[in-house]
Symmetry: D2
């Protein structure tokens, strides 16, 4: 996924914007958009969010956006995410 994403970025000439600092901001911005999907829901409503197709689509969309910036950031910093996660939870 990281390689496909890097190629996507190169095709659009976005590398110039994809500095570590900018990507950390973009990741936090997308995490904020994800928050907004849940902020006015009760815990019960939040647990049912995927049962509403339109809301489910927005959730998948935001999760993908968070993942994309996380992968980009790991890529430009040359961090092996799987190894980092394994070390953190071992």
């Amino acid at each position: 996924m990281q390689t496909a994403l890097a190629e996507f970025v190169v095709r659009r000439d976005w590398q110039q914007f994809h500095t570590p600092k900018n990507l950390a901001m973009a990741l936090a911005g997308e995490a904020g958009e994800l928050l907004e999907l849940f902020q006015w829901l009760t815990p019960e409503q939040a647990a049912q969010i995927m049962h509403t197709p339109e809301q489910a689509e927005r959730v998948r969309h935001e999760l993908a956006d968070v993942l994309s910036y996380l992968l980009r950031l790991a890529d430009v910093l040359e961090v092996d995410l799987a190894a980092a996660l394994g070390k953190r939870f071992s």
Copy 2:
């Protein structure tokens, strides 16, 4: 990774806390901690962050934390992250 993480959570009896709303908050909180590593750095300093072992370790740690909550959130919402990412960037 998602399965290993889910087992880690079950062993600690954390499922009760891992509601979609709480996990979205935790993800944004970790994205905020990642931001803090970069906020006072110039773009040039940020680009060199992995050359300082202590800072590099903190970056890997925070990236892993973001990933862990992203995987947990996808897990409890039953979202296929790879499919969501593929759809978003196709």
Copy 3:
């Protein structure tokens, strides 16, 4: 400002949503929107953001949104923000 905002909320019957947890999420969500205005700008471009009327309007809009949720959160938690700030920086 806090009182005017509280009345605004009451008129719309939003108190039910304005729990501390939800307001903390809304505050972070708005801080994320503010981030998005700056994330792809160079430091030089960011320093000039108020010279573009449309961007300046968006900045004022997001700063006001952050302030509004900060005031609401302080209100429902009965925190004296000025006192808290004074104590923090004395």
Copy 4:
């Protein structure tokens, strides 16, 4: 408050770091720390957070930090926060 804070910053020679981009990041980072105080609490526990002195102190501390960066950002961008808020909610 904005003036007192600006003087505090000058005394520490922090102006060089207080660019709009960096301050937007710091604001989002503090909003993330605030989130972390609430993320594992039930809505009921969150509503009682100020009844625990240690937690109450952390909440006041984080609210003050968010406010301080919001005021700094408004200061460097020359935004009149009260006017921006008034316009937003009129």
